[in-house]
Symmetry: C2
Protein backbone atom coordinates (compact mmCIF):
# COMPACT_ATOMS: atom_id res chain seq x y z
CA UNK A 1 0.00 0.00 0.00
CA UNK A 2 1.50 3.31 -1.01
CA UNK A 3 1.18 5.94 1.66
CA UNK A 4 0.85 9.59 0.89
CA UNK A 5 1.77 12.42 3.14
CA UNK A 6 1.14 10.69 6.42
CA UNK A 7 1.32 12.04 9.91
CA UNK A 8 3.03 9.45 12.08
CA UNK A 9 3.20 8.74 15.77
CA UNK A 10 5.29 6.18 17.59
CA UNK A 11 5.75 5.01 21.11
CA UNK A 12 8.22 7.70 22.02
CA UNK A 13 9.16 8.20 25.60
CA UNK A 14 8.86 11.94 25.20
CA UNK A 15 7.01 14.12 22.78
CA UNK A 16 9.22 15.30 20.00
CA UNK A 17 9.98 19.01 19.94
CA UNK A 18 8.39 19.44 23.35
CA UNK A 19 10.96 20.80 25.74
CA UNK A 20 10.82 18.71 28.87
CA UNK A 21 12.05 19.87 32.24
CA UNK A 22 12.20 16.27 33.36
CA UNK A 23 15.36 14.37 33.07
CA UNK A 24 15.33 11.50 30.59
CA UNK A 25 17.23 8.26 30.59
CA UNK A 26 20.01 8.09 28.08
CA UNK A 27 18.50 4.94 26.56
CA UNK A 28 15.23 6.76 25.97
CA UNK A 29 17.13 9.57 24.28
CA UNK A 30 18.88 7.08 22.02
CA UNK A 31 15.58 5.52 20.99
CA UNK A 32 14.00 8.94 20.38
CA UNK A 33 16.99 9.94 18.28
CA UNK A 34 16.87 6.81 16.11
CA UNK A 35 13.10 7.12 15.70
CA UNK A 36 13.51 10.77 14.81
CA UNK A 37 16.11 9.96 12.15
CA UNK A 38 13.83 7.25 10.75
CA UNK A 39 11.03 9.77 10.45
CA UNK A 40 13.30 12.42 8.96
CA UNK A 41 14.85 10.00 6.48
CA UNK A 42 17.78 12.31 5.89
CA UNK A 43 21.12 13.02 7.53
CA UNK A 44 21.04 15.70 10.21
CA UNK A 45 23.49 17.63 12.38
CA UNK A 46 23.57 16.90 16.09
CA UNK A 47 22.18 20.35 16.93
CA UNK A 48 19.26 19.75 14.60
CA UNK A 49 18.69 16.33 16.18
CA UNK A 50 18.66 17.95 19.62
CA UNK A 51 15.90 20.25 18.46
CA UNK A 52 14.08 17.45 16.69
CA UNK A 53 13.83 15.30 19.80
CA UNK A 54 13.70 18.09 22.39
CA UNK A 55 16.89 17.06 24.16
CA UNK A 56 19.63 19.28 25.68
CA UNK A 57 22.46 19.96 23.22
CA UNK A 58 25.18 18.58 25.49
CA UNK A 59 23.26 15.35 26.00
CA UNK A 60 22.58 15.01 22.30
CA UNK A 61 26.20 15.64 21.31
CA UNK A 62 27.32 13.02 23.81
CA UNK A 63 24.85 10.42 22.56
CA UNK A 64 25.57 11.11 18.90
CA UNK A 65 29.31 10.81 19.52
CA UNK A 66 28.77 7.51 21.32
CA UNK A 67 26.60 6.12 18.55
CA UNK A 68 29.12 7.24 15.92
CA UNK A 69 31.89 5.46 17.81
CA UNK A 70 29.79 2.29 17.71
CA UNK A 71 28.94 2.90 14.03
CA UNK A 72 25.22 2.83 14.71
CA UNK A 73 25.51 6.28 13.15
CA UNK A 74 28.06 7.43 10.55
CA UNK A 75 29.13 10.95 9.74
CA UNK A 76 28.16 11.79 6.17
CA UNK A 77 29.40 14.65 4.01
CA UNK A 78 31.75 17.22 5.44
CA UNK A 79 29.35 19.36 7.40
CA UNK A 80 28.82 17.37 10.58
CA UNK A 81 25.67 15.53 9.53
CA UNK A 82 25.05 11.99 10.73
CA UNK A 83 22.81 9.21 9.52
CA UNK A 84 22.22 5.51 10.18
CA UNK A 85 25.53 3.73 10.03
CA UNK A 86 26.90 0.39 8.94
CA UNK A 87 25.97 -1.27 12.21
CA UNK A 88 22.32 -0.54 11.46
CA UNK A 89 22.65 -2.14 8.04
CA UNK A 90 24.16 -5.20 9.74
CA UNK A 91 21.52 -5.40 12.49
CA UNK A 92 18.82 -5.14 9.82
CA UNK A 93 20.53 -7.80 7.72
CA UNK A 94 20.79 -10.02 10.79
CA UNK A 95 17.06 -9.59 11.41
CA UNK A 96 16.33 -10.59 7.82
CA UNK A 97 18.79 -13.50 7.71
CA UNK A 98 17.84 -15.34 10.86
CA UNK A 99 14.08 -14.86 10.54
CA UNK A 100 13.35 -17.72 8.17
CA UNK A 101 9.79 -16.72 7.41
CA UNK A 102 10.86 -13.16 6.72
CA UNK A 103 13.63 -14.27 4.40
CA UNK A 104 11.20 -16.46 2.49
CA UNK A 105 8.65 -13.66 2.45
CA UNK A 106 11.17 -11.35 0.80
CA UNK A 107 11.94 -14.00 -1.82
CA UNK A 108 8.22 -14.51 -2.45
CA UNK A 109 7.68 -10.76 -2.66
CA UNK A 110 10.46 -10.45 -5.25
CA UNK A 111 9.06 -13.31 -7.31
CA UNK A 112 5.52 -11.90 -7.14
CA UNK A 113 6.66 -8.47 -8.25
CA UNK A 114 8.48 -9.97 -11.24
CA UNK A 115 5.53 -12.14 -12.15
CA UNK A 116 2.75 -9.59 -11.77
CA UNK A 117 4.70 -6.47 -12.72
CA UNK A 118 3.08 -4.52 -9.89
CA UNK A 119 4.47 -3.49 -6.52
CA UNK A 120 4.75 -6.26 -3.93
CA UNK A 121 5.34 -5.62 -0.23
CA UNK A 122 5.90 -7.30 3.12
CA UNK A 123 4.02 -5.46 5.89
CA UNK A 124 3.64 -5.58 9.66
CA UNK A 125 2.40 -3.65 12.67
CA UNK A 126 4.66 -1.15 14.36
CA UNK A 127 3.35 0.22 17.59
CA UNK A 128 -0.31 0.94 16.81
CA UNK A 129 0.43 1.67 13.16
CA UNK A 130 0.97 -0.28 9.93
CA UNK A 131 4.33 -0.23 8.18
CA UNK A 132 5.94 -1.61 5.01
CA UNK A 133 9.02 -3.64 5.95
CA UNK A 134 10.21 -4.18 2.40
CA UNK A 135 8.95 -3.49 -1.11
CA UNK A 136 9.65 -4.42 -4.73
CA UNK A 137 8.39 -2.74 -7.82
CA UNK A 138 7.44 -4.98 -10.72
CA UNK A 139 8.74 -2.53 -13.26
CA UNK A 140 12.34 -2.80 -12.16
CA UNK A 141 13.74 -5.30 -9.73
CA UNK A 142 15.50 -2.77 -7.63
CA UNK A 143 14.17 -1.59 -4.36
CA UNK A 144 11.58 1.14 -4.41
CA UNK A 145 11.38 2.06 -0.82
CA UNK A 146 9.56 5.34 -0.62
CA UNK A 147 6.98 3.68 1.62
CA UNK A 148 9.28 1.44 3.63
CA UNK A 149 9.36 2.53 7.23
CA UNK A 150 6.57 5.09 6.97
CA UNK A 151 3.95 4.46 9.64
CA UNK A 152 0.38 4.53 8.37
CA UNK A 153 -2.92 4.32 10.26
CA UNK A 154 -4.09 0.74 10.23
CA UNK A 155 -7.66 1.39 8.90
CA UNK A 156 -6.21 2.88 5.70
CA UNK A 157 -4.73 -0.47 4.68
CA UNK A 158 -5.76 -3.90 3.43
CA UNK A 159 -3.08 -5.49 5.58
CA UNK A 160 -4.47 -3.85 8.67
CA UNK A 161 -7.64 -5.91 8.28
CA UNK A 162 -5.53 -9.05 8.61
CA UNK A 163 -2.89 -7.95 11.11
CA UNK A 164 -5.50 -7.32 13.80
CA UNK A 165 -7.20 -10.65 13.16
CA UNK A 166 -6.16 -12.14 16.48
CA UNK A 167 -7.74 -9.33 18.52
CA UNK A 168 -11.17 -9.07 20.06
CA UNK A 169 -13.43 -6.21 19.02
CA UNK A 170 -12.79 -4.59 22.38
CA UNK A 171 -9.04 -4.89 21.99
CA UNK A 172 -9.23 -3.31 18.53
CA UNK A 173 -11.24 -0.38 19.91
CA UNK A 174 -8.55 0.16 22.52
CA UNK A 175 -5.68 -0.31 20.09
CA UNK A 176 -6.49 1.90 17.11
CA UNK A 177 -6.62 5.64 17.86
CA UNK A 178 -9.94 7.25 16.96
CA UNK A 179 -8.29 9.77 14.69
CA UNK A 180 -6.82 7.02 12.54
CA UNK A 181 -10.26 6.29 11.07
CA UNK A 182 -10.18 9.56 9.15
CA UNK A 183 -8.85 9.01 5.62
CA UNK A 184 -6.48 11.43 3.88
CA UNK A 185 -9.37 12.67 1.72
CA UNK A 186 -11.37 13.57 4.82
CA UNK A 187 -13.82 10.66 4.80
CA UNK A 188 -14.45 9.05 8.17
CA UNK A 189 -14.49 5.28 8.29
CA UNK A 190 -16.97 3.67 10.62
CA UNK A 191 -15.03 1.89 13.34
CA UNK A 192 -17.54 -0.91 13.74
CA UNK A 193 -17.53 -1.48 9.97
CA UNK A 194 -13.75 -1.70 10.16
CA UNK A 195 -13.94 -4.24 12.98
CA UNK A 196 -16.44 -6.27 10.94
CA UNK A 197 -14.01 -6.11 8.01
CA UNK A 198 -11.24 -7.44 10.22
CA UNK A 199 -13.36 -10.42 11.22
CA UNK A 200 -14.51 -11.10 7.66
CA UNK A 201 -11.11 -10.78 6.04
CA UNK A 202 -9.43 -12.86 8.72
CA UNK A 203 -11.97 -15.62 8.17
CA UNK A 204 -11.66 -15.55 4.38
CA UNK A 205 -7.89 -15.25 4.50
CA UNK A 206 -7.44 -12.26 2.22
CA UNK A 207 -8.36 -8.63 1.86
CA UNK A 208 -8.79 -6.30 -1.06
CA UNK A 209 -9.30 -2.54 -0.75
CA UNK A 210 -9.54 0.36 -3.14
CA UNK A 211 -8.92 4.06 -2.70
CA UNK A 212 -8.30 4.23 1.04
CA UNK A 213 -4.87 5.80 1.49
CA UNK A 214 -5.16 7.21 -2.02
CA UNK A 215 -7.59 7.07 -4.93
CA UNK A 216 -5.27 5.47 -7.45
CA UNK A 217 -4.43 2.08 -6.07
CA UNK A 218 -6.05 -1.24 -5.39
CA UNK A 219 -4.47 -3.26 -2.63
CA UNK A 220 -4.52 -6.99 -2.11
CA UNK A 221 -3.23 -8.52 1.11
CA UNK A 222 -2.85 -12.09 2.37
CA UNK A 223 -1.74 -13.18 5.84
CA UNK A 224 1.58 -14.82 6.59
CA UNK A 225 0.76 -16.90 9.65
CA UNK A 226 3.19 -18.03 12.28
CA UNK A 227 3.03 -21.53 13.73
CA UNK A 228 0.86 -20.13 16.53
CA UNK A 229 -1.65 -19.09 13.88
CA UNK A 230 -1.11 -15.38 14.36
CA UNK A 231 -0.72 -13.07 11.40
CA UNK A 232 2.35 -10.96 12.21
CA UNK A 233 3.21 -10.11 8.62
CA UNK A 234 1.32 -9.84 5.35
CA UNK A 235 2.22 -10.18 1.72
CA UNK A 236 0.64 -7.51 -0.49
CA UNK A 237 0.24 -6.41 -4.07
CA UNK A 238 -0.47 -2.80 -4.98
CA UNK A 239 -1.98 -2.35 -8.41
CA UNK A 240 -3.31 0.69 -10.30
CA UNK A 241 -6.99 1.16 -9.57
CA UNK A 242 -7.98 0.65 -13.20
CA UNK A 243 -6.44 -2.80 -13.47
CA UNK A 244 -8.77 -5.20 -15.32
CA UNK A 245 -10.97 -7.35 -13.04
CA UNK A 246 -9.63 -10.59 -14.50
CA UNK A 247 -6.18 -9.41 -13.56
CA UNK A 248 -7.50 -8.84 -10.02
CA UNK A 249 -8.50 -12.45 -9.72
CA UNK A 250 -5.10 -13.59 -10.97
CA UNK A 251 -3.24 -11.29 -8.58
CA UNK A 252 -5.29 -12.44 -5.63
CA UNK A 253 -4.84 -16.11 -6.47
CA UNK A 254 -1.09 -15.79 -6.86
CA UNK A 255 -0.81 -13.73 -3.69
CA UNK A 256 -2.82 -16.15 -1.56
CA UNK A 257 -0.86 -19.10 -2.86
CA UNK A 258 2.45 -17.43 -2.05
CA UNK A 259 1.34 -16.36 1.42
CA UNK A 260 -0.13 -19.79 2.18
CA UNK A 261 3.14 -21.38 1.15
CA UNK A 262 4.95 -19.16 3.63
CA UNK A 263 2.48 -19.92 6.38
CA UNK A 264 3.11 -23.65 6.11
CA UNK A 265 6.71 -23.22 7.12
CA UNK A 266 8.59 -24.10 10.23
CA UNK A 267 8.68 -21.46 12.99
CA UNK A 268 10.20 -18.10 12.17
CA UNK A 269 13.28 -18.80 14.23
CA UNK A 270 15.32 -21.93 14.86
Amino acid sequence: MQALSVKVATNLSSDLKAATPDRQKGIDRVIDLLEGLLRLRAPAKPGDLARLIGAPRSTTYEIVNRLVTAELLDYVGNDGRVYFGRSMQLFGAAFADVNTVYRRAVAAMTALAAETQVTAQVCALRGSKYVVLDSRSGAALHRITSDVGVEVPIPWTASGRLLLGHMTAEAIRAFVPDEDFRLPDGRLLNREDFIADVMTCTAQGWCETTGLADHFTRCFAAPIRDTDGLCRMTLCLVAPVDTAPDQHAIFLARLRAAAAQLSLQEPSFP
Copy 2:
Protein backbone atom coordinates in the same frame (compact mmCIF):
# COMPACT_ATOMS: atom_id res chain seq x y z
CA MET B 1 35.50 -12.98 0.56
CA GLN B 2 34.09 -15.89 2.47
CA ALA B 3 35.20 -16.01 6.06
CA LEU B 4 35.61 -19.20 7.97
CA SER B 5 35.42 -19.58 11.69
CA VAL B 6 36.65 -16.16 12.65
CA LYS B 7 37.36 -14.73 16.04
CA VAL B 8 36.02 -11.20 16.14
CA ALA B 9 36.63 -8.12 18.22
CA THR B 10 34.80 -4.85 18.18
CA ASN B 11 35.06 -1.56 19.93
CA LEU B 12 33.07 -2.64 22.94
CA SER B 13 33.03 -0.50 25.99
CA SER B 14 33.52 -3.53 28.18
CA ASP B 15 34.98 -6.92 27.52
CA LEU B 16 32.36 -9.49 26.87
CA LYS B 17 31.95 -12.17 29.51
CA ALA B 18 34.29 -10.29 31.83
CA ALA B 19 32.41 -9.42 34.96
CA THR B 20 33.05 -5.80 35.68
CA PRO B 21 32.74 -4.27 39.13
CA ASP B 22 32.52 -0.84 37.55
CA ARG B 23 29.22 0.63 36.75
CA GLN B 24 28.45 0.99 33.06
CA LYS B 25 26.31 3.50 31.28
CA GLY B 26 23.01 2.18 30.07
CA ILE B 27 23.85 3.28 26.53
CA ASP B 28 27.06 1.25 26.62
CA ARG B 29 25.10 -1.79 27.79
CA VAL B 30 22.66 -1.34 24.91
CA ILE B 31 25.48 -1.21 22.39
CA ASP B 32 27.18 -4.26 23.95
CA LEU B 33 23.90 -6.15 23.85
CA LEU B 34 23.24 -5.36 20.18
CA GLU B 35 26.84 -6.21 19.25
CA GLY B 36 26.56 -9.42 21.22
CA LEU B 37 23.37 -10.42 19.40
CA LEU B 38 25.03 -9.62 16.07
CA ARG B 39 27.92 -11.90 16.97
CA LEU B 40 25.62 -14.64 18.27
CA ARG B 41 23.35 -14.45 15.23
CA ALA B 42 20.56 -16.24 17.06
CA PRO B 43 17.76 -15.32 19.44
CA ALA B 44 18.67 -15.44 23.11
CA LYS B 45 16.96 -15.13 26.48
CA PRO B 46 17.66 -12.06 28.58
CA GLY B 47 19.52 -14.12 31.19
CA ASP B 48 21.76 -15.54 28.51
CA LEU B 49 22.35 -12.04 27.14
CA ALA B 50 23.31 -10.86 30.62
CA ARG B 51 25.95 -13.58 30.78
CA LEU B 52 27.06 -12.93 27.21
CA ILE B 53 27.80 -9.25 27.84
CA GLY B 54 28.75 -9.53 31.51
CA ALA B 55 25.98 -7.26 32.75
CA PRO B 56 23.86 -7.58 35.93
CA ARG B 57 20.62 -9.49 35.34
CA SER B 58 18.40 -6.69 36.59
CA THR B 59 20.08 -4.19 34.29
CA THR B 60 19.83 -6.55 31.32
CA TYR B 61 16.15 -7.32 31.92
CA GLU B 62 15.41 -3.62 32.11
CA ILE B 63 17.30 -2.83 28.90
CA VAL B 64 15.80 -5.77 26.99
CA ASN B 65 12.30 -4.78 28.07
CA ARG B 66 12.91 -1.22 26.95
CA LEU B 67 14.28 -2.29 23.58
CA VAL B 68 11.35 -4.67 23.08
CA THR B 69 8.93 -1.83 23.81
CA ALA B 70 10.65 0.20 21.09
CA GLU B 71 10.68 -2.83 18.77
CA LEU B 72 14.45 -2.67 18.36
CA LEU B 73 14.14 -6.20 19.70
CA ASP B 74 11.18 -8.57 19.26
CA TYR B 75 10.28 -11.58 21.34
CA VAL B 76 10.51 -14.72 19.21
CA GLY B 77 9.07 -18.14 19.95
CA ASN B 78 7.35 -18.83 23.25
CA ASP B 79 10.32 -19.23 25.54
CA GLY B 80 11.38 -15.68 26.25
CA ARG B 81 14.00 -15.36 23.54
CA VAL B 82 14.57 -12.03 21.81
CA TYR B 83 16.22 -11.04 18.57
CA PHE B 84 16.61 -7.98 16.38
CA GLY B 85 13.20 -6.46 15.81
CA ARG B 86 11.30 -4.70 13.07
CA SER B 87 12.78 -1.33 13.98
CA MET B 88 16.23 -2.69 13.13
CA GLN B 89 14.98 -3.86 9.75
CA LEU B 90 13.63 -0.35 9.17
CA PHE B 91 16.79 1.42 10.34
CA GLY B 92 18.82 -0.82 8.07
CA ALA B 93 16.46 -0.18 5.17
CA ALA B 94 16.67 3.56 5.83
CA PHE B 95 20.47 3.32 5.71
CA ALA B 96 20.29 1.52 2.39
CA ASP B 97 17.62 3.78 0.87
CA VAL B 98 19.09 7.17 1.56
CA ASN B 99 22.70 6.27 0.83
CA THR B 100 22.62 6.64 -2.94
CA VAL B 101 26.01 5.07 -3.56
CA TYR B 102 25.13 2.12 -1.36
CA ARG B 103 21.81 1.58 -3.12
CA ARG B 104 23.56 1.64 -6.49
CA ALA B 105 26.28 -0.64 -5.15
CA VAL B 106 23.66 -3.21 -4.16
CA ALA B 107 22.10 -3.03 -7.60
CA ALA B 108 25.53 -3.43 -9.21
CA MET B 109 26.33 -6.33 -6.89
CA THR B 110 23.09 -8.07 -7.86
CA ALA B 111 23.73 -7.56 -11.56
CA LEU B 112 27.33 -8.78 -11.26
CA ALA B 113 26.28 -11.92 -9.43
CA ALA B 114 23.72 -12.73 -12.12
CA GLU B 115 26.17 -12.03 -14.90
CA THR B 116 29.19 -13.86 -13.51
CA GLN B 117 27.38 -16.61 -11.58
CA VAL B 118 29.76 -16.21 -8.65
CA THR B 119 29.25 -14.52 -5.30
CA ALA B 120 29.30 -10.72 -5.35
CA GLN B 121 29.61 -8.58 -2.22
CA VAL B 122 29.67 -5.03 -0.93
CA CYS B 123 32.27 -4.62 1.84
CA ALA B 124 33.48 -1.98 4.27
CA LEU B 125 35.54 -1.42 7.40
CA ARG B 126 33.93 -1.88 10.79
CA GLY B 127 36.07 -0.77 13.65
CA SER B 128 39.49 -2.15 12.82
CA LYS B 129 38.03 -5.11 10.94
CA TYR B 130 36.61 -5.86 7.50
CA VAL B 131 32.95 -6.80 7.07
CA VAL B 132 30.56 -7.84 4.27
CA LEU B 133 27.61 -5.45 4.23
CA ASP B 134 25.61 -7.39 1.66
CA SER B 135 26.11 -10.41 -0.58
CA ARG B 136 24.54 -12.15 -3.56
CA SER B 137 25.23 -15.60 -4.82
CA GLY B 138 25.28 -16.03 -8.57
CA ALA B 139 23.65 -19.44 -8.37
CA ALA B 140 20.40 -18.14 -6.99
CA LEU B 141 19.38 -14.55 -6.72
CA HIS B 142 18.34 -14.76 -3.14
CA ARG B 143 20.47 -13.50 -0.38
CA ILE B 144 23.22 -15.73 0.89
CA THR B 145 24.30 -13.96 3.95
CA SER B 146 26.39 -16.38 5.93
CA ASP B 147 29.26 -13.88 5.78
CA VAL B 148 27.28 -10.68 6.16
CA GLY B 149 28.10 -9.00 9.43
CA VAL B 150 30.99 -11.28 10.37
CA GLU B 151 34.07 -9.24 11.21
CA VAL B 152 37.28 -10.46 9.60
CA PRO B 153 40.88 -9.31 10.03
CA ILE B 154 41.69 -6.85 7.29
CA PRO B 155 44.92 -8.56 6.01
CA TRP B 156 42.92 -11.69 5.15
CA THR B 157 40.97 -9.84 2.47
CA ALA B 158 41.36 -8.32 -0.99
CA SER B 159 39.08 -5.44 0.01
CA GLY B 160 41.28 -4.64 2.99
CA ARG B 161 44.07 -3.70 0.57
CA LEU B 162 41.82 -1.03 -0.87
CA LEU B 163 39.91 0.14 2.19
CA LEU B 164 43.11 1.30 3.92
CA GLY B 165 44.34 3.12 0.81
CA HIS B 166 43.89 6.55 2.33
CA MET B 167 46.16 5.76 5.32
CA THR B 168 49.84 6.33 5.80
CA ALA B 169 52.08 3.35 6.52
CA GLU B 170 52.34 4.55 10.11
CA ALA B 171 48.59 4.84 10.48
CA ILE B 172 48.15 1.31 9.12
CA ARG B 173 50.67 -0.04 11.64
CA ALA B 174 48.69 1.60 14.41
CA PHE B 175 45.32 0.53 13.06
CA VAL B 176 45.65 -3.19 12.31
CA PRO B 177 46.29 -5.38 15.38
CA ASP B 178 49.47 -7.46 15.11
CA GLU B 179 47.57 -10.70 15.64
CA ASP B 180 45.42 -10.04 12.59
CA PHE B 181 48.36 -10.83 10.31
CA ARG B 182 48.14 -14.51 11.24
CA LEU B 183 46.02 -16.40 8.71
CA PRO B 184 43.56 -19.13 9.68
CA ASP B 185 45.99 -21.78 8.41
CA GLY B 186 48.71 -20.48 10.73
CA ARG B 187 50.81 -18.61 8.19
CA LEU B 188 52.03 -15.18 9.27
CA LEU B 189 51.74 -12.39 6.73
CA ASN B 190 54.51 -9.86 6.69
CA ARG B 191 53.10 -6.53 7.79
CA GLU B 192 55.35 -4.46 5.60
CA ASP B 193 54.44 -6.63 2.59
CA PHE B 194 50.82 -6.00 3.42
CA ILE B 195 51.38 -2.25 3.58
CA ALA B 196 53.16 -2.41 0.23
CA ASP B 197 50.17 -4.32 -1.16
CA VAL B 198 47.86 -1.58 0.08
CA MET B 199 49.87 1.05 -1.75
CA THR B 200 50.14 -1.01 -4.92
CA CYS B 201 46.48 -2.04 -5.06
CA THR B 202 45.28 1.46 -4.27
CA ALA B 203 47.38 2.84 -7.12
CA GLN B 204 46.23 0.21 -9.61
CA GLY B 205 42.63 0.43 -8.50
CA TRP B 206 41.94 -3.28 -7.91
CA CYS B 207 43.09 -6.21 -5.87
CA GLU B 208 43.08 -9.94 -6.38
CA THR B 209 43.96 -12.48 -3.71
CA THR B 210 43.94 -16.25 -3.40
CA GLY B 211 43.78 -18.54 -0.43
CA LEU B 212 44.03 -16.04 2.41
CA ALA B 213 40.94 -16.56 4.57
CA ASP B 214 40.56 -20.02 3.02
CA HIS B 215 42.25 -22.14 0.39
CA PHE B 216 39.31 -22.49 -1.94
CA THR B 217 38.48 -19.02 -3.12
CA ARG B 218 39.91 -16.32 -5.30
CA CYS B 219 38.80 -12.81 -4.42
CA PHE B 220 38.63 -9.78 -6.64
CA ALA B 221 37.96 -6.33 -5.19
CA ALA B 222 37.56 -2.88 -6.70
CA PRO B 223 37.14 0.40 -4.79
CA ILE B 224 33.96 2.40 -4.65
CA ARG B 225 35.24 5.93 -4.14
CA ASP B 226 33.36 8.77 -2.56
CA THR B 227 33.52 12.27 -3.97
CA ASP B 228 36.37 12.97 -1.57
CA GLY B 229 38.32 10.20 -3.25
CA LEU B 230 38.24 7.90 -0.26
CA CYS B 231 37.42 4.24 -0.64
CA ARG B 232 34.80 3.53 2.05
CA MET B 233 33.24 0.53 0.35
CA THR B 234 34.38 -2.07 -2.15
CA LEU B 235 32.66 -4.23 -4.69
CA CYS B 236 33.94 -7.83 -4.74
CA LEU B 237 33.64 -11.09 -6.54
CA VAL B 238 34.44 -14.39 -4.84
CA ALA B 239 35.19 -17.24 -7.25
CA PRO B 240 36.34 -20.83 -6.77
CA VAL B 241 40.12 -20.99 -6.75
CA ASP B 242 40.21 -23.22 -9.83
CA THR B 243 38.34 -20.76 -12.03
CA ALA B 244 39.96 -20.51 -15.49
CA PRO B 245 42.42 -17.61 -15.86
CA ASP B 246 40.53 -16.15 -18.82
CA GLN B 247 37.48 -16.05 -16.58
CA HIS B 248 39.58 -14.15 -14.06
CA ALA B 249 40.30 -11.44 -16.56
CA ILE B 250 36.62 -11.16 -17.45
CA PHE B 251 35.55 -11.00 -13.78
CA LEU B 252 38.10 -8.32 -13.01
CA ALA B 253 37.14 -6.23 -16.01
CA ARG B 254 33.44 -6.37 -15.22
CA LEU B 255 34.08 -5.66 -11.56
CA ARG B 256 36.27 -2.64 -12.19
CA ALA B 257 33.81 -1.22 -14.69
CA ALA B 258 30.94 -1.57 -12.23
CA ALA B 259 32.89 -0.06 -9.35
CA ALA B 260 34.16 2.80 -11.50
CA GLN B 261 30.61 3.54 -12.57
CA LEU B 262 29.62 3.80 -8.92
CA SER B 263 32.56 6.03 -8.10
CA LEU B 264 31.55 8.59 -10.71
CA GLN B 265 28.30 9.27 -8.92
CA GLU B 266 27.09 12.23 -6.97
CA PRO B 267 27.87 12.22 -3.23
CA SER B 268 26.53 9.36 -1.13
CA PHE B 269 23.95 11.57 0.51
CA PRO B 270 21.84 14.46 -0.73
